[in-house]
Point group: C2
Chain length 475, copies 2
Amino acid sequence: MNTASYHPVTAEIAAELRNVVGDRYVVYGDPERLEPFGHDEIAGPEYAHMPEALVRPKSAAEIARILKLANRERVPVTPRGAGSGLSGGAVPVHGGIVLCLDRMNRIIEIDPDNLTITVQPGVVTNEINERLKEYDLFYAGYPMSLETCFIGGNVAENAGGGKAVKYGVTGRYVTGLEVVTPIGETVRLGGKRVKDVTGYNLIQLMVGSEGTLGVFTEITLRLRPRPKASADLLCLFPTTEVAIGAVPRIMTGTGVVPTAIEFMDRTSMQAACEYLNESIPYREAGAMLLITVDGPDREAVERGYDRIGEACLEQGALEVYVADNATTSERIWKVRRSIAEAFKLVSPHQSLEDIVVPIAAIPEMAAGIEALAEEYGIAIPCYGHAGDGNLHATPVKAPEWSLEEWHERLPQLLTDLYRLAASLGGTISGEHGIGHKRKSFMPLVLAPAALDMMRAIKRALDPNGILNPGKIMDG
Amino acid sequence: MNTASYHPVTAEIAAELRNVVGDRYVVYGDPERLEPFGHDEIAGPEYAHMPEALVRPKSAAEIARILKLANRERVPVTPRGAGSGLSGGAVPVHGGIVLCLDRMNRIIEIDPDNLTITVQPGVVTNEINERLKEYDLFYAGYPMSLETCFIGGNVAENAGGGKAVKYGVTGRYVTGLEVVTPIGETVRLGGKRVKDVTGYNLIQLMVGSEGTLGVFTEITLRLRPRPKASADLLCLFPTTEVAIGAVPRIMTGTGVVPTAIEFMDRTSMQAACEYLNESIPYREAGAMLLITVDGPDREAVERGYDRIGEACLEQGALEVYVADNATTSERIWKVRRSIAEAFKLVSPHQSLEDIVVPIAAIPEMAAGIEALAEEYGIAIPCYGHAGDGNLHATPVKAPEWSLEEWHERLPQLLTDLYRLAASLGGTISGEHGIGHKRKSFMPLVLAPAALDMMRAIKRALDPNGILNPGKIMDG
C-alpha cells in the first residue's frame, strides 16, 4: 500500500464519523485541537504528523463501524492511547483518522477467584494496582510512565518496565483480548484460562503489534498474589563500568531472582534529582543500581537482599543502602521514573534509545556506548533496566553542533549504536517499539525473509493497509 | 489448498530426496518401515495415515532444500519429533513426506552467563535438565512425556506439563528460534535477549503452531537458577469433588504459588500404580492432589507447604504426606507421569482429552464430567494439571458398547464435553493441541473471524499449503 492510494478525510466522512460516535467526539478542520494528537513523547518535531480527524469512540461496536468506513473510503486509522509512546506508534504518519481510546477507560471486572482483571484499553496502568490493593492481588506490569500511560498502549507496545527481571513483560499477563480487526470484525481471543493451544497464538501476535493488526477493546490480565514483603537496595558504584559489571554476577551468581535491577549513570541521577528537587546520596557515586527484591515474607526478602548486597560490595560497590519502607522506596523509584522527563527538559535535542543485549553482554555494550560518545564528541547518558540487558542510552546534541549537524549525524550514530547491539546478540528495541522512528533500521537486525513474513501477515490481516500504516515496516 | 491439488511422491522425487540427505536417511516404498511414522500416541487407528516417504535430515540447509522441492512438486511435508504427540500433529494426513528430526539431536551450547541453552529440535526434553545439573541451572518445562518427547515437539505444541502453575508453559522460555519457513527460507528470530519488540512476535506465533508455519532447527531457551529446595505433598481426599474444590482455595487463599498441583482420581491412581507395580497409600482415598513447592531454601519451602497442607486439611483432605527427598518425590511423580500410558493398556478404546477452564470453574467442570459419564453410561476417569484448570478427562468405551457404537457416539460426547468447557470460559485444548483430532471442533470455541485470521496467516506464510496441511483447521 503506498501513500498515494490513501484518500483524504472529507467533510462527508467527518459527518459519518459524527454519526457513529456523536458530534462532541469528533474533531475535524480544527488544527489547534488536532495538534496534540499529531505527536507522542518522542523529542523532535520531525517525528510529528497532523491527523485530519480525531475520533473518540466509546465501544467496540463504534470502532468496528469506523474501521469498516475507513476500509470503504481508504482512509488510514491510527489508534492512540495516552500518547506516552516513545517510537511514534500513535503518530498518524499518513494523516487520516486518529482513534483515541481515552473514553474507553472502565475497569470491567476484577475476578479474585480467577486471579484476573478485565479492563478497557484507556485505563491508566497505575489505576489497576491501586484498585487491586484491597484484594491483596497485583498486576506485575510496571512501565516507567505508569502514572499516565494506558494499559492498551502497554499491550500494543508489549511494554517492559521496572519489574520485568522477575515478572516478565506485559505480554506474559495478557490471557484474553477483545479486538476489532483491521477489516472491522470484532473477535474475542483467549479469556481467563491460563493455558490455551487452540490454534495460533493470535493474542501474542496482537501484543506488541503497535496498533497495526487490531484495536484492543477489552483486555484480560492475569494477576498474582501480592508479594507480602519487598525492599529496595540503592547501590552506589564508583563508575558505570563497575556498576554494570556487577549485573551479570547478580543475575547468575546469587541464586536470587531480583524483581528489578535498574541502572542510572551519574548524569541521569543528577538530572532527575534536580528535576524533582530531591536529594539522594549520589554525590560520591559515578553510577547507581536500584535493586528490588520481593517475596512471600520479610525473612525471604532479607535473605535475598543480603545475598545481592554482598555481591554488589564484592563487585566494588561503594555503599549499599536498604530501603524497606514504602515511602522511601517510592521516593527512589520516582527519581528513576522521572529520568526521561528530566532529560527532555535539559536536552530537548536528544534521541531516547532502547537497545537490548543478552545480560552477559551488558558491560561490553556500556563500554561501546561510552566509546561512541567519545568518537562523536557528544554526551550519551545512560540508564535503564540493566537486569534485562535493556539500556536507555540517550545521545544528546552537543552544544556546539547546529541543529542541522545533529539531524545529519544522528542517523549514522544510531546505525553505529544499533550495529553494536546487534553484534552483541541484541536488538534495537526492548520495550519502546519500532513505530516510524526505527523502521528504517529494521534490516540491521532482521533478515529480509523475517521482514517479508511480517509484511505478509500485515497484508493478510489488513488487505487495504488502513490500520496504522507506516509503522514497523513499509508495506 | 484442497487434497486433490497435492501430488504424490514419485520415484524421481524420492531420488532427489536421497540426493539431499543421503540414501540411508530416506525410506520410500517400504510400508513396514513407514508404518511407525503414520501415527502418534493417540489411541485409535482412525487417526493414523501412512506417509509416502520418510526423510531424516541433519541440518537446516537440508530441510530448506526439501521444502523448496516440496513447493515445486506440491508434495505435503509433515514435521515429526518423537511422535509422542496426542492430537495427531505429526501424522501425515495428506500423505507425502514425513520429515523426522531425530538426527538433529545436539545440545549446541549451554551459556551460564546468559542463562540460556541452545538445542536442536531432536533433543529429548529430559536430557536438557540432566545436562544442566552441573551448572546449577534448570529449564522449567516438564511435560509428562519428558523421558521420550523432543524439545522441538514441545515448542511446536507449546507443551504445558507439571510445573506450569508456577513457571508457565514452554513458550515463556523460548527466546530464540532458527526456523525454516514453509517456502524454504531459513530465518533467525530473537536470540539470547530476554526482551525484544522488534516487530511482530514471530517466535510466539511459531510456538504452538503445530509444525504448520515452520520447521524449527535451533531453539534457544531461557534458564533459571535451580531452586535450592523442593518438596511434594501427597494429599488424599475422600472424593473428586472435595479434592478439586480445594484447588481454587490453594491458588488464591494461601499467598503461595505452588510449582505444581496435579489431580488424580481413584481410577487414574489405581491404573498407574498397577502398571508400575507401585504402592502409594491411596486405598482410602477417592482422589488425590500432588502438590509441589520449590524455593530458594528449605525454610521458604517449609513455610510454603505448611500453608498449603493446612489449606488442604481445612478443605477436607483425609491425610497429607510430605515427600521432601528426591527419591520419594520421583516415585510419586512417576506414578503421575505414567497414567496416560497405563490407561492405554487398560482401555485401548478411549479418548484422552485436554480441556482447560479458568481455575474457579474447575469444580463445576469436574462435576460436569461426572454428569456426562453418567448420561452416556461410560467411565470418564480424570486427572491432570488442576492448578492450571487443565484436566485430562478420558472417556473410555463402555465394555458393552460395540466399536461401532463407540465411534458413533464419541463425537457427540466430545461436543458436549467441549461445549461445557466453553460455557465455563474454557477451551478444547490446554497443551495437547488441535492437530487433526480436534480441528472439526474449533468452531465451538473460536469465532469464524478468528479462524479466518488463522487461515489468512497460514496462506500468507505457506502459499502452496505444503507444510503439515490438514492440521488446526482446513484451508
